[in-house]
């Protein structure tokens, strides 16, 4: 048996926080190895150690031969044939793919940059992975999926031993995921090793030969044979996974319209935004908006929330037009907003949990010009207890909470309040662990069952298929397709939605 392409054991602390506690990983050449774990399990830290971006406090690293971890850096990792593709692309948008590929390694002929050689090298590298690409295309004009495939080809051209992909599919449509994974398989078939960092179990089962699970910085399980999603999930969370989300009961046929969007046009960056969207969500109904990121979902959400100016069209909550209303008036009308960016729009990071509760609930805790501190304390304690926010300390600063607990706090503040008519939830479980996701899904289900109209904007089709009565697809600023009822439950629903997400017409 030959030496593995990668063997690593590492420990790493950040202050009091243990990121890696002797985490171990071994990857054989010619295999795709999935590295799984919840947020904060240490997946990314371990891979950053391997790629030389992060120092280990102690450990062993072998890349074919023993590597001195104390002197290991990115240049050393690259020299040993290690490459890494990051979740958010690293391409310069104003350069062509060939120029991007050549950056820092420009081929030279006669003392000048040889652009043609760079283009030939990139095309050849992509072809080895079964991809065709246009080396003269500007990176910024490609879709996220095309950029990611191009980047993978560039990195793979240099990385002969080991390719690391850190959550590469977070921003991709299903069809683009398939194309990316085909390249990954081709790379492994050529003898290279791949580490795929992910927490999406269906991807693991689809593409990986072997699986290692980290939890709390330790390696808790490793399989090189058949394994089920349930087994991986149990290892990831160290117990039984929460039951999958379920759809709320269907809305009554005579239900009033909770949220109405009519001919909405919202300008966005580079001519994007919302081109023309009309959508009605009945009280008690959950409507999902699927789509590849950047197709106008953000502008749609901000316009409904009152945070982006509307060029044309109307938004109504509970039958009352709020197109020009201030945020406070929309909230008073019963609109709740779980924003896409909880750091920026959801919570005041430097303020306490209690202040952040008061922030969205001033109507309940205000007494004239004053704020009733007893009411703030009571409401905060109630929300913390009901939504299991940890630490259960109203005076804790929000930026000391984990991402999952921050999101639980936002959801608690926004959805656990009286008089809800319409709920706008944008990527509500992104970056949130399984247990917290399950709580958030249950909460969305409950508010719908209680009569709120829920508009759920998400990239995760599993989430949309599980929770929604109806799913529409947003593409280039418009709604291009809709599945409901039996069509949504049909086995081909994913494929149909996925096709619409990349521009196929229904």
């Amino acid at each position: 048996m030959t030496a593995p392409a990668l063997r690593v054991r590492a420990s790493r602390r950040f202050g009091d926080c243990v990121a890696l506690a002797d985490a171990a990983l071994e990857v054989a050449a010619g295999t795709v190895h999935a590295l799984c774990g919840e947020n904060g399990a240490g997946k990314s830290t371990l891979m950053r150690v391997v790629y030389g971006l992060e120092r280990a406090d102690a450990g062993v690293l072998e890349l074919g031969e023993r590597v001195d971890l104390a002197r290991h850096d990115v240049a050393g990792a690259q020299a040993r044939g290690v490459g890494m593709v990051h979740q958010h692309g690293m391409l310069v948008p104003t350069l062509t793919l060939a120029d991007n590929a050549a950056l820092g390694h420009e081929p030279v002929r006669g003392g000048r940059y040889d652009r043609a050689a760079a283009a030939r090298a990139l095309v050849a590298a992509a072809a080895r992975l079964g991809q065709r690409l246009d080396p003269d295309a500007l990176a910024g004009e490609l879709t996220v999926g095309e950029q990611q495939r191009a980047e993978l080809a560039m990195v793979a051209a240099r990385a002969t031993r080991l390719l690391i992909l850190d959550e590469p599919t977070a921003l991709l449509a299903p069809r683009e995921v398939d194309a990316l994974f085909a390249m990954v398989r081709a790379f492994a078939a050529g003898g290279g090793a791949v580490v795929l960092v992910t927490h999406k179990l269906d991807e693991v089962l689809a593409v990986a030969d072997e699986v290692t699970v980290l939890r709390g910085g330790r390696t808790v399980a490793s399989w090189s044979a058949e394994v089920t999603a349930a087994e991986i999930a149990r290892a990831m969370i160290g117990g039984e996974p929460p039951p999958p989300a379920t759809r709320p009961p269907p809305p009554r046929p005579d239900a009033a319209i909770g949220l109405a969007i009519d001919g909405l046009v919202v300008p966005g960056p580079r001519g994007g935004g919302v081109v023309d969207v009309t959508l009605r969500v009945a009280a008690g109904e959950v409507v999902g908006v699927a789509g590849v990121e950047g197709n106008g979902q953000r502008e749609l959400a901000l316009a409904i929330a009152g945070l982006a100016p509307v060029a044309r069209g109307a938004v109504a909550v509970g039958g009352v037009d709020v197109t020009r209303a201030k945020v406070a008036a929309r909230r008073a009308r019963g609109l709740a907003h779980v924003p896409e960016d909880r750091h920026r729009h959801g919570l005041v990071q430097g303020a306490s949990v209690a202040d952040n509760v008061a922030l969205g609930r001033l109507g309940e805790v205000g007494r004239g010009a004053l704020i009733d501190r007893a009411a703030v304390a009571a409401l905060t304690a109630q929300l913390i207890a009901a939504h299991d926010v940890r630490p259960a300390d109203p005076s804790a600063r929000v930026d000391a909470l984990s991402g999952g607990n921050q999101q639980k706090l936002v959801v608690a503040r926004e959805l656990d309040r009286p008089g809800l008519r319409a709920v706008l939830a944008v990527h509500p479980t992104r970056g949130v662990d399984l247990a917290a996701s399950a709580r958030i899904h249950a909460r969305l289900r409950d508010v719908a069952a209680a009569g709120a109209a829920v508009l759920l904007i998400a990239a995760d089709l599993d989430e949309l298929l599980a929770l929604c009565h109806r799913v529409v697809v947003m593409y280039r600023g418009a709604l291009v397709g809709e599945l409901t009822g039996a069509a949504l439950a049909a086995p081909d629903a994913r494929a149909r939605l996925g096709a619409w997400m990349v521009g196929a017409t229904p």
Binding site: A305, L307, K326, V327, A328, R330, R331, H337, P339, R344, H345, G346, L347, V348, Q349, G350, A351, D355, A358, L359, G360, L362, G366, A369, L370, I371, R373, R397
Partner: protein
Amino acid sequence: MTGRARTIHLAVVALLATMAVGSVLMIVAGASPLHAWGQLLRQTLGERQGFGQVLFRATPLVFTGLAVAVPLRAGLFNIGGEGQLTAAALACAVVAAALPPGLPAPLAVLIATAVAFLAGAVVGAATGAMRIYRGAHEVIVAIGLNAIIAGVALWLGNRSLFVGESTRTATIPAAAQLPELGLAGSSASVSALGALGVAALVAWLLARTRVGFTWRMTGQGLDAARAAGLPVDRARVWAMTVAGGLAGLAGAHFVLGHKHAYEDGLGRGVGFLGIAVALLAQGQAMAIIGAALVFGVLGQGGLAISSDVPKEMVDVLQAVVVLVAAASLGRRKR
């Protein structure tokens, strides 16, 4: 509370740095640091007259310090204290001098103080409105307004308001003059007590009221505050308005409690020094009182030892405090 601990920590560091730099300067000037510091402290905190002068110097700094602290908490920087103070002092002196004779003293003081607050508030409101509704940076606007107000005040004075060939307006009636505190002939007046009360009021405003909450949330997370429906634009204009009024109270202090008229150059530099006071106090309203006293001691103490050490040393030491405070503020933001 972490905010309080941070403020205390900063105060200790600033004092140590100030004493270190001051000692070096004293040695360079040929004085014994031990002797000079001893003199400085004895003549400011060790005797009634000196302490009265410290209070007199600290009082307007409390007002201008608060005038920086309130916008600071709301995410704005008010360097317009100079102009706000000048506009307020001139308006206060002119109105007070024109008050009908026979007006009871409390009413006269109240009216004159209210005029000062309003005049400063108008300047502050203009600055805030330019920032929020026109997008002009409040620092640039304040620089412009400071210059305009200084020029207009002098022009108005020379044209009609100054008495005779002087650069001083008519003396205000006795009813509008604030009584002195009676600290061994020092200049400290009851406005020092007013400063204490106003600082407590601002602290209460920040901690307990809707508008104070909105200021704090806006300053710490503008987008999140907006997304939660807080009136962030209105609140920021109000923060600058109140700040202008607070700086205006410093003008009232000089007119009603000391000069009993407006003079050219009255309160000059006090608006800017308020920035240093607010930074040292990290924008915490009650800490402003302590910070203002530190600057009062430095200012008065510098005079006390001016036979041993050049009086410019005080300017240097005050700047050291500002630098330490500014560096600490930057660290908090990281």
